[in-house]
Every structure is written in C-alpha cells, then in structure tokens.
Symmetry: C2
Subunit: 370 residues, 2 copies
Amino acid sequence: MAEGLNFSRRLRRTPYTSSAEKAGVTGFSIVNHMLLPKAYRRSVEEDYWHLREHVQIWDVACQRQVQIQGRDAARLVQWMTPRDISRAKVGDCLYLPITDDTGGLINDPVLLKLAEDRFWLSIADSDLLLFAKGLALGRGFSVSIDEPDVSPLAVQGPKAEQLLAELFGPHIRDIGFFKFGWIDVAGTRQLIARSGYSRQGGFEIYLQGGHLGAGLWDMIGQAGLAHEIAPGCPNLIERIEGGLFSYGNEMTRETTPFEIGLQKFCSLDGSIDYLGRAALQHAAAAGLSRQIRGVLFDGGPCPTCAAPWPVHVGDKQVGQVTSAIWSPRLKRNVGLSLIDRAFWDAGQPVTVHSADGAIRSGEVSGLPFA
Amino acid sequence: MAEGLNFSRRLRRTPYTSSAEKAGVTGFSIVNHMLLPKAYRRSVEEDYWHLREHVQIWDVACQRQVQIQGRDAARLVQWMTPRDISRAKVGDCLYLPITDDTGGLINDPVLLKLAEDRFWLSIADSDLLLFAKGLALGRGFSVSIDEPDVSPLAVQGPKAEQLLAELFGPHIRDIGFFKFGWIDVAGTRQLIARSGYSRQGGFEIYLQGGHLGAGLWDMIGQAGLAHEIAPGCPNLIERIEGGLFSYGNEMTRETTPFEIGLQKFCSLDGSIDYLGRAALQHAAAAGLSRQIRGVLFDGGPCPTCAAPWPVHVGDKQVGQVTSAIWSPRLKRNVGLSLIDRAFWDAGQPVTVHSADGAIRSGEVSGLPFA
C-alpha cells in the first residue's frame, strides 16, 4: 500500500511542513485536517532505535488547540469529561477523556490550564471544537471557543532535556512531567510542556505564531547536531510497545474510557456532574465485557493494519487488532486489541487474522509490552 | 509533491476501497477520516474528457451521513441552517449551508428528508455529527444522532442515466434533480438521488449495508462496459470549471454563506429562527466586502494549490486562490478565489502568486467558467 496522497488546501500544511520537506519527509498521515509527517528517508525500525537513544524533532502541529475561555470555561470543560478538573492548577497538563452522553469517547486531548478561565485542549483526530461549540451554544454558556495560531513541535528522546536546556535555559529541567513552563523563542514568550507521544521523555513547544515555525525548527536542528538529532514522528513500534493508544485506532465513539484503561480518570461518586455520568455509572455497575490488551504474535513481520484484524480463540472472535507492527527488539509482532473478558488474561493463546490472509499464532499480553 | 499516505485504521477504508484498489487507484485524499480515491492510472486530464463524454463510478463513501431522527429532528436541523426547510418534502435533497452563531460555515451538506422526523445530512469534511450532538445535548432536544452504515457511490457523466435505467429500471428517469427515489440492489431497497459532485449529470446511490459494496460496484462495472464506464473521482478540472466549491478549500469557519454566493439559501426576514441569524442579518446590512470568483491565469500549467496563493492588483493583495488547475479546454489555468469588492468584476486584471514562485498574469472571471 504505497498509494500517494493528493494534496489540497483542505489538508492543511503546518508552519513546519516546508522544514519537514527539506528534511526529506516521504509520507504523511492526516490528523485534524492537517498534515502529520509519518516517514522520513529512514525505515520505521531505524527511526525506532534512534528515538530510544538520541533526540528527534517532530512536527505535531496537527495537535490543534481548542481554546475555551470566559466565565463558564471551567464549567464547560468539566461538563465534557468524567475527570475531576477542580483541583487542576495553572501550569498543569491533564490527559482528559471526553465523552458524550452515552459514555462513548469523542476525543482524548491533553488539557492545558492557562488561567482559571482559560484552557487549551490539545486534541486528537476529531473536531472537538464543534462539539464544544454545540454544547456551549445549546446551554447558553458564556465562553468563546476558537482554534488559535498554536502549533506544537515535539522534541522527544533521552537527549531532549539536555538539548533544550542548552538552548532555552536550565529552568526547563525543573518542569515536572505533564506540567508546563515558558521559554523565550526569538523574543517571544512560548509555552513548553514536559509531554509527548512517546515513552522516551521529552517536551512539546506550543508555538504561538506560525511565522516563527521555520526559525524554531532550524534553531533546534542546529543545536541538536551535537546530540545526533534527526527529524522524526510518532513511531509506531515505540507507541505500541509503550501501550500508547490512538483516537480513531484503539478508541472511537463506540469505546468507553473503561475499555482503554482510564477508570482512574472517571469520577463516579456523584461529586461532579458531566455529560456521560449516568452512562458510565451504569457501565461500571454492569462490569466490563472487554478491555484493551497487547497481543504478541508470530509469522514474520505483519503488513500494515489498515482495518481491524479479527483475534480468535479457536473459532470464536474475541477481539480485533487495531494497530500492529513487527518489533525488532522483541522479535515478534506487537498489536493492540480490545479483548473479551473471558480471554483477556496475559498468556491466553489466540490467533490473529491479518489482512494478508495469514492466521498467526500468538498470545495476550499486558501493557506496556515488556 | 508525490509523498505517500501512511495508512492506519483511523483513516477508514470504505466498502468500495478494495474494488478501487483492483481498479488501479493510485492516490487518495482523506475526507471525514475516510479514504477518498483521487487518482487512477489515467491523468486528471484524460479523466476529465472521459467524464464529459461517458460515465464513471466514484467511491464517495466519505460523504458520511449524519442521521438525525426523533421528535425534535426538524427543529434541530432548522436551528443549524439559514435555509428555510419548512417546505421540504420527503424525497427532497436540499443543499444546506450550516453556520455557527457568527455566521461562519461549519459544513455544507446535502439534506435528505426521509420522513417528517428523520433526516440525513450528507456531509463535507468536518465532524458535523459532533456539532449536532453538542447542540442537541445542550438544548435538551429529543433526537438521536448517529452515523449509519450508509456509503454513497456516485455514477456520474452523460451516460449515467441510461446505464442505471438498464440496471435498476426506467423509473429512475423520473427522479428529478436533487430528488431521491428507491431501487432494488440484491434484494435490498436502496436510496438513489439525482445528484453528485460534477456538472455532467448522474446519480448517487446511498448504499445501506457495507457488505453489499463490492457487489454493487461489480454490478455497475459489468453493465457499464457497454457505456465505456471507468473508475473515477471528483475531477478537479471539471469541478473548478463548473464553479463547485469544496469545504476546507473555498470555505472555512471564516467564510459566510454570502461570500460563496449562497444568499438565496439565507432567510433574513425573521420568519425562521436559527443560530447564525443575527450575525447574517448584520453582515447583510453591512454589505459584502469579498465574494467568490473565478480567476483565469497564464504561465503554463500551474502546480498543485496546497496552500492559498495571493491574488494581487499591483502591490495590493485582493484575494487568494484556494483551488487551481490547468484547463485543457480553455488552455489557461482556472482558479477559485475570494476577491475583494472593488476588484471582483469580470475582466479585472490580476496577478496570481503561485507556490512555484511564478507571478502569473490573469483576470477575474464569473462562475462557472464559460
């Protein structure tokens, strides 16, 4: 499947796209109507080893910000999520399941609390802005909701902190995990968070002002030379091994937060009110019938998982793999799948019916993969 | 720009994707988180001439349906659009601007009225389902909103009617423009509308039941052999020449219905109530400052318009081209641009600053292009 992507203005370029092109990008995905580089000249496997050892610069501007501000901003955010945000402080990042009235997931953004009455929701791939606007207009909330000119650039990998401390000052070392602080970029004050879509550590710079994008990319690229920096992107091997889920892949509107292991972010005691509360209380009382697990499986490197692959125990379908790839470290394929309750224990033998027609033997695994 | 598309489950395959692959699809776009074939083995120009003469089969399953049903269904739909839907009959298709409270466009679907309390909105590229859900939940409307298993397949071109009459019966000839009727497909009752994203005539079959997709494609493909049928897709030359606009390209949330010529679909006399009414009444009173026009321009075939190109009169920017391509019939480039009022008359000389660095001479044109 090496088909091309046909470009148009509707598939928006980012402030970093030209830089990524100069750096040799060879493939894109589309997230939030925007280009996400997904491949450079090196293989996914080379990229994986590099990310674990060095530092990479990622154009993740597609993580758009839904800015919610105004008198009812906190009220609206709380209404959309089962996670209690009442104790969040300015400077906190909170991973936030967003659900509708059925408890189905609408998005899973990171919330950045900028002020008591101003939030950014750094979104996955669905138009959360439209949901928030609909709710606010329907309820008559006093808020304004927009998508500001903010384009996250991720710096990921074990050398990220050293590199960014050299560039922007040692104070960035004091930023805790899922906290944010501020740096100076070309005379502008910019938000930097210790976060990112990998398990290798790093930061995300929420650049305000697209015209500064190429300069920021070059500045980091130059300073990074001493640290063997390379252009990169969310790495599928590293993401699956690390048990990081992707909205649209592992979860959709058909999935509850419980099913992807987010119980701890769901307030069920009635202390806060939100859209999906009754549905989630009901689901919690009924008990889980399926939940996300890893699947390790054989048969040589598997193809791209472009549509769910059935997972069987004997003749019975017990799940479906939604993301999968060959792990060069584990020397087996690793996949993510919702698995039915009776079969979700680690070690359960299964078969995976991949798109190439192969029936591959494997077993259920805990997450993250060892 | 021949970069590849990296597939994942999140970029959903359609019931016709396998058929399109067998037919030699070489490029995709992404609409509503779903694959839209955008190129087969032939060039866009060959495809253009073929579409004007024969008949084509298009996988437009990405035109997802937002189904709104229940006691308040009509009330919700009316609240989202400035177009008066009170006189719509079951069997009607209505092109529907959807706006928020600022009068900015959220989407421009085709509404299909299935019953007094049941509608499909056949959407362009934004998650209108989330906006509708938000509004309904916020207002407490009694409706259910979902995305049913419905996948439009377009049959477009001057021979479409003859072909479909042979296949499904002569009654389809009686279906008026922007009306729908019913056909039998493999023993199932299926909706067929006289509509489609071209000016060459044709129909769209709103197939319910994805498992029927490959069979329907093959049935039309076989019967179409006698009519020189070919697999195709919305053709950029034909679309621009015909003055058909695309959400995300010619219009965004920054664009009002007036700016893309939809005044006739905007009720401003106060007889109906909808979200954007005050904003649109205000905009109408203030007068239009820019509106969509064609631009004809020289300098040989232009590159792909992947980001807006400035349109100048002398040193002054007066618009931006959002879609453009070489017209083999007019032997000039044709583009679509919002143009400032003082410069929007046909014949106004302009320059177009295309992404290849060229400054191309041209002039403003009415739409559709002659």
